[in-house]
Amino acid sequence: MSESSSFILDDQEIPFMPGQSVMQAALAAGVFIPHLCYHPEFRPHGSCKLCTVKINGRPATSCTTPAAAGMEVESNTPEILDKRRTLLQMLLVEGNHFCPSCEKSGFCMLQALGYELGVVAPRFSLLYPARPVDASHPDVLLDFNRCILCELCIRASTEVDGKFVFALSGRGIKKHLVVNAESGKLADTNFSLADKAAQVCPVGVILPKRKGFAVPIGQRRFDAAPISAHVDEFKPVAPGERP
């Protein structure tokens, strides 16, 4: 590997192709960087900040920073892991994340990253926001209690489905996911279970009805191995492979 096409990530040499982000190159090399709003099939968003690394000593989101030769990137350091834990704790107290009753438990990236990073305490005061669910659609339940504002459903609905079903509304702590219908109800949109937007939620907001808890505990996605061992599932896809 020539020096011009690699960077150093925690003492490991990571090769990259022109145009790849630090995140893409790391994942392609089999090194997991925690993330929630990043998805291999979508343009990076850079909003969850969980993939923050230090590049040549300065914090940056690895999903939005293009890889460059000779970069020195720190990811798995006590300082950065502590900041990621804090971000997860803030997400966990902002919503209503009650895992024991959630159908996404065992498949949820927020939960899996909490396990990965050893988040055992909420640390902050819980906000317990009031966020009514939307069960109007015949095939899909929306449970806004768990939304982390990653905008993956918005991006999927807009860029892949061409339907513009979801959007964010409000500012600051009042920012929330909304449905683009006069009634605000999912049943009054052309949303379908086959949409890409129905498959990308990293947490338990967009749930297919009548399929809850189909997989027994012990056999769920992140039961056997931690999320970092699933690095292959997050590897970059070529533009042509994008559905």
């Binding site: 966990l92 209503n96 994340h97 009650f98 895992c99 024991p100 009753s101 959630c102 438990s105 065992g106 939960q111 909490g114 396990y115 990965e116 050893g118 055992v120 305490a121 909420p122 640390r123 005061s125 819980l126 317990y128 926001p129 009031a130 966020r131 505990i217 039961d223 191995a225 931690p226």
Partner: protein, 182 residues
């Protein structure tokens, strides 16, 4: 030489379902190994009503009423190390699912407007009953908590790993498979 002093351990269930205590008993025969190193003070297992000076206090459940607050403060005042055991103690859990509702509406729904009630049923107001709080709180919002063990309930193996780490002077580390939020 004298045997080392046994550590005093107290446990209680506040706004919980006793599932975490059942899970504690799920360490099975290892409970006998544990009793080589600890002795119980106040706990549902001994039926001692108030806790004296203890080394370790284990709290199941969140705080949903005035009595929970008193018990939790008694534990904090008496225990060198206080542990939040299980989802409800850590983040409020199931009881906290009422937090976005008005307490008066909830009580009215159960005791006044519910169908099939005996005529004249009222919201209970006996002075013996602890007053419910407007919201259920995780215990770290009321007193300082030293360690957290999430899970609904945490498995017997997780409780065993946690306690043996603690008793041998290590910071408890659960690792994959033992750290669980569900």
């Amino acid at each position: 030489m004298n045997a080392p002093r046994k550590l005093k351990v107290a446990t209680t269930s506040l706004a919980g379902c006793f599932g975490c205590h059942m899970s504690f008993l799920d360490i099975d025969e290892r409970l006998l190994d544990l009793l080589e190193f600890i002795e119980f003070d106040r706990t549902p297992l001994t039926d001692i009503k108030h806790c004296g000076p203890c080394d370790i206090g284990i709290i199941e459940g969140g705080v949903c009423n005035a009595e929970n607050v008193c018990v939790l403060r008694e534990f904090r005042a008496n225990c060198k190390i206080l542990i939040a055991l299980g989802a409800c103690a850590v983040n409020g859990g199931l009881p906290a699912q009422r937090n976005h509702l008005d307490l008066r509406d909830i009580l009215a729904a159960v005791y006044v407007t519910e169908e099939g009630l005996v005529p004249g049923t009222q919201i209970p107001n006996d002075p013996e009953l602890p007053l419910p709080l407007n919201q259920v709180h995780p215990i770290h919002e009321v007193v300082n908590i030293d360690y957290f063990l999430p899970g609904c309930p945490p498995s017997g193996d997780a409780i065993w790993k946690f306690l043996t780490d603690l008793l041998t002077g290590h910071t408890p580390r659960l690792g994959h498979g033992l750290i669980r939020y569900d």
